[in-house]
Point group: C2
Chain length 401, copies 2
């Protein structure tokens, strides 16, 4: 508990406008079940009263689109696998793990083909890591078009991934001296492929088969995907079927015509791998209506592709003043970090924002700072501060506009 | 990666009996999808090829039984919510969160009734914590009756729980001087109820509404449950409807006729709250058949209700010699901790076992040590070392027999 919590508690009744202090214990208790409930079962599902879903636009080609995580409705740092964001370029293939293979070839001494069962038998690693599409927040470049945090920031999620270090597989194949990049290719209809520097592949990349304790979900690459900690989502190739060792990047469609950053001067920046430090308030956020003045817990998520979150600050006056938020343990490198900060809303208009600093010392920029360097042509890598406007009637809207 | 991994890698080809070195890259590649795959969707589900399920015996009263987590098929430390173990005494009620209330009353100055939405608005905490039924492993008291780790140890799971500190709610109600216990009661058909010392309630107990990023699952207490870190599962009351402040324990059925420990001399030990340090190898484990001699990663889980796991040792010779296993980060207090240890199986009979030590210095006992103190009448709190026997043909069976 942060040190504020004691003050907070003392204001709890006031925060609820007396509702809590109304001693409702004399009310009739709700009707309770008299009959036995449901029996145990083999594989559970959520309550029929729960409604949170991924958001996606109706599209002419629903196989080539994205769905976004409902960040306001989720809690903690783990994203439920059923609500993990999606971004597919050719739909979700229906792969039989017994038939699937991973081939490693190219500039190696011993090209190898692995079955899924062989990989699962190898020494494995589990890590809690965020995964963020580099297109997350792209509509915000031009300012405040999206109404809620699901649509502004819902292309990030965080899971416990389990897999085999790619370095172990590459060493087994015997990487040749002139190899300097790998090409990773998926088994989806579009054969999505990305180039990754060999140094990263040897450092911390996983060939993952597990997500939040069970097999990868189909839309997350079942049965095998790359996990490239801290790097843009697109490079974490799903349905992984092939790793080829090269002496240069392959210059695939996904790193030339797409996933480059068009700068203000019309040139394009290629290979922007790292997802820079970013944070967003998930509550209160766009689409909510605060029921009354009083005390609220401002909460949200922060993450950095370069390491651990060191600090999150919250502003309620549009960035004029900032207060340190409490960071929820565990604070893990390259994972979502939950922050919390109490706020007493007076009932006047307010502009909420968060900014984070990672353990490299890098601080999340304002949108103006980002635009000064990057222009407004970009689709990718928008990590600017997000604001939420609270009107006097409690309605919360996008404050970037 | 543990220091062993380099040695391990060098033996990888040997481990697979040459299979990996067979350069199968010249094989025909598997057929790949040519057509677009499935579109994005609102709420995902697992692959149709996945089969892991909770185990439960057919019972005359399936509402009053347990289902067990498939620990061999899960990975990492997070248990998928769909596979979290169950233990119900009156079935799973179907509760509408809009109608559900939590009442706090008894020895307080201001009895209060909370709606679920009111609780969610309060300052919250998220923690990754194990939950273990104190009956976990009960068949092993008499030695080796269960064939696999799901049946011996499947009444433990680990989730990220999110909720409101109970202490905050109790302070708001104004706990009276003579209060020393609370009674927590569920809204299930049997109104399961347990007494908890007030000191624990004020220390770290949560009124939880979230599990692994979304709402609690129905079978885990939706919409509200107690989370009592490190204490036996039964006391983490599900479908929480009432907390009453008392000056003595309530002596409910669940702490008198059940959930007491019958000792060797016929007396019963009451209120065994803490789950002591325990570990189990999940792979290789009962029911598996090792395909060939070679190198295996021995892996499993360790946890302690009293703190963090400090050490896990693995034996392959029935406890004569022990080797330190690598502990997977993050190592969190009162959470499952994943351990890994390489083992070169010669093809001769072996007896695998793990033992853990927590950060209080307590070490998991042998079954003989436990029986010497507790006798064999107990149903609860069996944290003895579990062995798995590997036969010369690779078949793995319960080594406790």
């Amino acid at each position: 508990m942060p040190p504020q919590s004691r003050r907070w508690f003392l204001g709890l009744s006031a925060a609820f406008g007396g509702a809590l202090a109304a001693c409702r214990s004399n009310q009739a208790l709700p009707v309770e079940p008299r009959a036995l409930g449901a029996p145990v079962g083999p594989y559970g599902s959520r309550s029929r009263f729960e409604r949170a879903i991924r958001f996606f636009s109706r599209s002419a080609v629903p196989e080539e689109t994205a769905s976004k995580t409902p960040l306001r409705e989720t809690c903690g740092i783990i994203t439920p696998s059923s609500l993990h964001f999606e971004r597919h370029h050719g739909g979700v293939p229906d792969l039989d793990p017994a038939a699937h293979r991973l081939t490693i070839h190219g500039l190696v001494d011993r090209p190898l083909v692995f079955t899924v069962d062989e990989l699962k038998r190898l020494p494995s690693v589990s890590r809690i890591l965020f995964l963020e599409c580099s297109g997350n927040g792209n509509a915000e470049w031009k300012g405040g078009n999206e109404p809620d945090v699901q649509r502004t920031h819902g292309l990030t999620s965080c899971s416990e991934w389990t897999g085999v270090p790619l370095a172990m597989l590459l060493k087994e194949c015997g990487v040749q001296r002139d190899a300097s990049w790998i090409l990773a290719e998926g088994a989806d209809a579009c054969k999505l492929a990305r180039s990754i520097p060999l140094a990263k592949a040897m450092a911390d990349v996983l060939v993952a088969y597990g997500q939040n304790g069970e097999a990868l979900r189909p839309e997350q690459g079942y049965p095998l995907r790359l996990i490239v900690p801290g790097w843009e989502g697109n490079i974490n190739v799903k349905w992984l079927r092939r790793v080829k060792l090269l002496d240069r990047p392959a210059m695939t469609r996904e790193e030339t015509s797409k996933y480059t950053d068009l700068l203000g001067d019309g040139t394009a920046r290629q290979f922007t791998f790292d997802m820079e430090a970013k944070s967003v308030i998930t509550h209160p956020s766009g689409g909510e209506r605060l029921p009354s003045p009083g005390i609220y817990e401002v909460t949200g998520l922060a993450w950095s592709g370069r390491g651990a979150i060191a600090r999150v600050e919250v502003s309620v006056d549009g960035g004029r003043t900032w207060t340190d938020a409490a960071l929820q343990e565990p604070i893990l490198p390259r994972a979502h970090t939950r922050f919390r900060s109490p706020w007493k809303w007076s009932g006047e208009e307010a502009l909420l924002a968060s900014r984070c600093t990672d353990d490299t010392g890098y601080r999340q920029p304002t949108r103006a700072e980002l635009v000064a360097i990057r222009g407004v042509n970009s689709n990718y890598h928008n990590n600017a501060i997000q604001s939420w406007r609270v009107a006097a009637d409690g309605a919360v809207t996008n404050g970037n506009a």
